[in-house]
């Protein structure tokens, strides 16, 4: 089949380039990925750029204008309390993205360290850590999130209150949620990293490094970690949309970030009640859901393209 032969020939002709450069080229050649990147930049700019405005207006109520449809004054309409949906949408996006990114960071942090240690050390420690991962896989995820919330929100809120931050309650809810989501999504990461580390440990270059008397920490950081960057990046990119989705899922069940702090998830959850064919308040559900879908789409395109670009198999 010619379509399969072609890229191989092409590669032979092309002058050698670094793997990173190759990956970048492949990434940029993927038009969807570029679109995803641009979309994401747009979302981030809009949501975080408008923070100075939205932080002041998101909770401004005017009962006389409750449930007004979109107009020049309120571009996205207003909700049951007469709050401007646009500012809630933007702030909600900022918070949802924050939860997504930070949960992914938490997940990558834990998953990477557990996977590295487990894969490098092997033996007893490896068995112990992997059994631990198995154990955690078995625990019901919703239970964990609920219990974390119940146990932690108050204490964190107390701490925030002591430091004099505004909206301490809401902030505490966000922190707990991202810890909770990150805390349950590192498991797969740990497994992937472990198996890759195991295969890297036996490679000649690692053995060579060991022979020169390098410390384990140095081998891990200087020799093994750089080889894992690709999978970590792919995994992190795919965790972000999953975490955002998890947030909306928990919000639908009433376990997510609590009002009045908006997120796309809880805006959508409160909008679901408005799906009602006659005189429907469509704007309550449509905007947050469209925002959520587009953001997830952009992130998924990004992650997917990243995987394609870095994955040797599907080249």
């Amino acid at each position: 089949m010619s379509s399969i032969e072609l890229p191989i020939r092409h590669r032979i002709i092309a002058r050698p380039r670094s793997p990173l450069r190759l990956a970048l080229d492949r990434f940029l050649a993927n038009r969807l990925a570029v679109a995803g990147l641009i979309g994401m930049c747009f979302f981030v700019l809009a949501c975080y750029g408008s923070l100075p405005w939205t932080l002041h207006t998101f909770n401004h109520q005017d009962l006389r204008e409750a449930l007004a449809p979109p107009s020049w004054q309120h571009w996205m309409g207003t909700d049951a309390l007469g709050r401007d949906l646009l500012s809630r949408f933007l702030l909600g996006g900022a918070i949802s993205l924050l939860i997504g990114i930070f949960s992914a960071l938490v997940a990558v942090g834990i998953g990477l360290s557990v996977g590295l240690v487990s894969g490098y050390a092997g033996g007893r420690l490896d068995a112990l850590l992997m059994r631990g991962v198995d154990v955690l896989y078995g625990l019901p995820y919703i239970l964990l999130v609920i219990l974390l919330r119940v146990a932690l929100v108050d204490r964190i809120a107390h701490f925030f209150n002591a430091t004099g931050l505004p909206h301490a309650q809401g902030l505490a809810g966000i922190v707990v949620l991202l810890v909770g989501i990150g805390g349950v999504s590192w498991l797969t990461m740990a497994r992937v990293i472990r198996s890759q580390t195991m295969s890297l440990v036996n490679q000649p270059f690692v053995e060579a490094a060991r022979a020169t008397g390098a410390k384990p920490s140095r081998i891990l950081l200087r020799h093994i970690l750089p080889n894992l960057i690709g999978s970590v990046a792919v995994y992190a990119a795919l965790t972000v949309p999953n975490a955002i989705l998890a947030e909306s899922f928990l919000s639908f069940l009433g376990l997510g970030v609590q009002p009045p702090v908006p997120t796309w998830g809880n805006l959508a959850a409160s909008g679901v009640e408005a799906i009602n064919p006659i005189h429907t308040q469509w704007w309550l559900i449509t905007w947050p859901c469209v925002g959520l879908t587009l953001a997830l789409l952009c992130l998924n395109f990004l992650g997917d393209a990243l995987r394609d670009a870095l994955d040797v198999r599907t080249r």
Binding site: M1, S3, I4, L32, R131, G132, D134, V135, L136, Y137, G138, L139, P140, I142, L143, L144, I146, L147, V150, A151, P241, L245, S248, F249, F252, L253, A268, A269, V272, I275, N276, P277, I278, I285, C289, L292, T293, L296, L297, N300, F301, D304, D311, R313, T314
Partner: protein, 336 residues
């Protein structure tokens, strides 16, 4: 092989012990343990005159106190629970007053049917999808399929579920599907096949909701694994031998690619038992997801513990089964 299986089974014991210990610890330190929640709806409280008595009963039933009302220490509580579980007694729900096994029996069929059909549909679409996109790598159909399946994957189920419900089960738009439940009201005078058809008709929307997000991941996996196999030496050999392209694809590439699917499929089997809370919530289905969710909210400890236990035992067994199947399918893989 037998020794391998026995060793694996023995290894499961410490994992399960750790698992029970974690479960126990997590659940015992949850606040609001003996105040049974879930009795509230719309924020309206029932009379709480009897709460103290209630609490005492709960404490006795949870084995927090012995018959004389003396508190039992935590280690002993854990031991007692472990003992009764090892003897094969799953607990009795505090809320439903029925054995957990009965509860599972009532709810499992629905969840299992929906999940099994959904999985079948996902495989039926993704297998050819993955194959076609792999063979047409880089062409329009590959890109289009990739775009479309990812776009579906990005749609939140909350939105799609409620929209489907609001438009396709609504007499004011399209009254094509029932909006709730699993049966029509008068099933008494239906023939068996009619009854099955009625049942299938009722679970169409829930199945659509559990299916649409699943294509992206599986197709991608299959595509990748086919592309990988296409570059292998044996394909080149087969082609060089002059085998027809179709034989090369079906008998060599496709079948070798299916090997990778064993792991994927095996790992997803335990998931068949857990329902999606959201889909069950939207379509008013009484399945496993809701059982787990409501018992967590109402702190129905025996149910939470036993569901998690059953789930993890199944997961571990599935891992084992995956490894064995892998060995059977590909004798090159040897465990020791």
């Amino acid at each position: 092989m037998t020794t391998y299986i026995i060793r694996r089974l023995l290894l499961m014991i410490p994992t399960l012990l750790g698992m029970t210990f974690m479960l126990f610890a997590v659940v015992r330190f949850a606040p609001g343990l003996t105040t049974s929640g879930g009795q509230v709806s719309g924020g309206i409280m029932q009379s709480r005159q009897a709460q103290k008595q209630e609490q005492q009963i709960m404490e006795r039933r949870l084995h927090l106190v012995d018959k004389n009302g003396h508190p039992i220490n935590l280690a002993m509580q854990y031991f007692l629970w472990l003992k009764s579980t090892c003897e094969g007694h799953l607990g009795t729900s505090l809320v439903y007053q029925e054995p957990v096994l009965t509860l599972i029996e009532q709810r499992l069929p629905v969840t299992l049917t929906i999940n099994a059909i959904a999985m079948a549909v996902i495989y039926l679409v993704s297998l050819p999808g993955g194959l076609i996109t792999a063979l047409n790598q880089g062409r329009f159909i590959d890109k289009g399929y990739g775009f479309f399946s990812l776009a579906l994957y990005s749609l939140p189920v909350i939105w799609l579920g409620s929209t489907l419900l609001g438009f396709f089960a609504n007499p004011q738009y399209f009254n094509w599907f029932p909006s709730a439940g699993l049966h029509s009201t008068n099933t008494g005078n239906m023939t068996f096949f009619r009854y099955i058809a009625d049942y299938l008709y009722h679970i169409v929307l829930p199945i659509v909701c559990s299916v649409y997000g699943g294509f992206a991941f599986l197709s991608k996996q299959i595509r990748g694994s086919i592309l990988e196999n296409l570059q292998q030496d044996y394909v080149r050999t087969a082609r060089a031998k002059g085998l027809p392209e179709s034989t090369v694809l079906v008998r060599h590439v496709f079948r070798n690619s299916l090997l990778n699917l064993i792991t994927l499929t095996g790992m997803s089997l335990p998931g068949l038992l857990g329902g999606s809370v959201i889909i069950e919530q939207i379509f008013s289905i009484n399945g496993m997801g809701r059982l787990a969710y409501t018992s967590t909210l109402s702190r129905d400890l025996p149910v939470i513990q036993d569901l998690a236990l059953v789930g993890s035992v199944l997961t571990l067994l599935c891992y084992l089964a995956v490894d064995i199947c892998y060995h059977l399918a590909d004798p090159r893989v040897i465990y020791d």
